[in-house]
Point group: C2
Chain length 381, copies 2
């Protein structure tokens, strides 16, 4: 629920920091961006906060407006809305936030990022046309570290919407010598239980999981999200005993021309699955975008990962590295077309974490993918 | 210099914690263990502290005794010596610490570990025979975490002395897919500057660096320790401009039957180098032990590392992993004789650290090497 608080005047930096924290409570998966909103009254007091809880629920601005104490509603007149994303200007399942803010008397809107969705965009322009002072967080003088956190919150979603294809995370789980299986093909388990639990948490945060037919035939994975402790948080469940089946499950996608066996675990519920009989990952990502997928996780195997890397389609790498040596056996990736060290695929480390005995590293390409240049940069508006 | 402090009575746990911190100031390399000592007077006050600064300098106990305020010397009578290692009982370059403590009137000695050196051991027994109460830290009720830190301080040294061969650390610096070079053999650089600086710091902490002749022929490494900022700490140097040449340098050891080229950088100073024309690492480690090497760093290449791993000679693995993918090229290790996942070489992670874009992981074998069972375990006395 939206809450009404009566505090002293806060800075726009503090308000955006709070809006970011609120936004992060929303789901990463589900097709919509995570958005938070803090409403400051004409005297700078926090009048209400709100955030978006996923498709079909109120937008962050509407959530916040609904939480304003009726006795203080007139303090909104001349007030400021601080939001992590530009207010929408389309009537979808909810009315446009631009009009709602204007109707409430808001005089100033500070937003961390612009909305790249052509159907929803235009909120800033419309508000300006109606006399509202609209500023990006950076232009409003917000602490750059706070602004960057707010931008990062929707980075993958905005990138996906701009490009018209899902943000693609590729997962590897290897030994220190880069192997994903021993010489005889056995691979359970290379990584620790903590690493596998983390991987399930990531599965629950994406809209789709991709594997190649080779992986289905070799490993017969279920590809469901079974994050520890998460089931209990889903509404209507009976505590820790609640089955993972009750969670929203990512779409399970099998890519490749070989048929998927009738008894493959990927065919069984909960959630939907899909076989795309093509080797062209561009076609796959286009189809997934059409189905509303904004975040996709590529879980293997080496053939599909190698193809995605060669095509420059991997936006983020999740590497789980176990303190294990095999010496021989299949590697995580095949020939990438790299012949000399200067041509190596280099990544910029975003996060590192120890998971049990293992290391986890999230990284993004060191240089933006070739299509990035034609789109607005981070923080630009 | 030893310092004299007049504080309130401290617990033995606090004293050992302090002795451990003091001991850590001593050099890891140089053949001697790192030892710290805190002397508590008969009323439990800290009378003095000391630590060992390397071969040829005072032992920790002697260093502490020298620091006691002459006006308070009689408080040593009935007092307690808390040391990280059992007091020695041999007259080497310095007189036996056992006798010195007894002569000072110390009534109780608490030591974290026993001395595995047959020439120096016997201090505890001799002291007991002379009416001194001698206890291990664990028997004295010291906080197990503090006792474990004190034990770890000399773990590699004690293991080396017990086994009669150096503690062997093996370094790998790989891509996420386990490669050490691209297909054309180029490898500079895979890891970040921060990772390479860390590796130089480790070089400065060992007595010897080992490489195979293949690495000398392929990479022509200098193998000197050039840790950033360390030179300034060495005595008598002119600040940050002091050349790495002024540091104590590890012995550079080339292993293998092929000749070392006349112009190889490993031949040039500072410090000594050695060519051992054998493939038998057991012979190499025996020779290094004879020369006083207690900590050795195996820096490559794949042939030597694979041989060391197959022989079960690697006590600690230092893995630098860069967020880089190559797809093809030489791997860090060759065939380890592992055919199935159950036989994988598994390691227990000791430390992890982010170094620039890279990950660093230090690990030890999950199960002790086969010869470990015949020796006293950690914390046993």
């Amino acid at each position: 629920m939206a809450t009404t608080t009566t505090t002293r005047a806060v800075t726009v930096t503090a308000a955006l920091d709070r809006a970011t924290a609120l936004a992060a409570r929303g789901p990463l998966a589900g097709g919509n961006p995570r958005v938070g909103c803090v409403l400051l009254g004409v005297h700078g007091d926090v009048l209400a906060e709100g955030h978006h809880r996923g498709a079909g629920t109120a937008h962050a601005e509407a959530d916040a407006l609904a939480g304003v104490d009726p006795a203080r509603r007139d303090e909104l007149v001349g007030g400021t809305a601080v939001v992590t994303l530009e207010p929408c200007h389309h009537a979808g399942r909810t009315p446009p936030c631009s009009r709602a803010l204007h109707a409430a008397g808001i005089a100033r809107v500070v937003h961390a990022t612009t909305d790249p969705d052509p159907r929803a965009a235009g909120g800033a322009a419309w508000l300006r046309g109606h006399g509202v002072d609209v500023l990006t967080a950076r232009a409003a003088g917000v602490d750059p570290a706070v602004a960057a956190r707010a931008e990062e919150l929707t980075h993958s979603w905005r990138t996906a919407v701009r490009r018209g294809r899902p943000w693609l995370v590729a997962k590897t789980a290897t030994t220190l010598d880069g192997r994903v299986a021993a010489g005889d093909g056995t691979s359970r388990w290379i990584t620790s239980e903590q690493a596998r639990e983390h991987a399930h948490t990531v599965r629950a945060d994406v809209d789709a999981i991709l594997v190649g037919t080779g992986t289905v035939l070799a490993d017969d994975p279920a590809l469901t999200a079974r994050p520890p402790g998460r089931a209990a948080e889903a509404p209507g469940l009976q505590g820790a005993e609640a089955p993972a089946a009750s969670l929203r499950q990512p779409l399970r996608v099998v890519v490749g021309e070989r048929p998927v066996p009738d008894d493959a675990r990927v065919r069984r519920g909960p959630g939907e699955w899909l076989h795309l009989p093509t080797r062209d990952l561009g076609v796959v990502l286009e189809e997934l975008h059409r189905r509303g997928v904004r975040q996709a996780l590529l879980e293997g195997g080496p053939t599909l990962l190698t193809a995605a890397l060669r095509a420059g389609l991997v936006d983020e790498l999740h590497a789980y590295v176990a303190p294990v040596l095999l010496g021989t056996g299949a590697g995580a990736v095949g020939d990438l077309g790299v012949r000399t060290i200067a041509d190596a695929l280099r990544w910029r480390t975003v996060t590192t974490r120890r998971l049990g005995e293992d290391l986890f590293l999230a990284a993004r390409p060191e240089t933006p993918r070739q299509d990035a240049g034609s789109h607005p940069q981070e923080g630009e508006s």
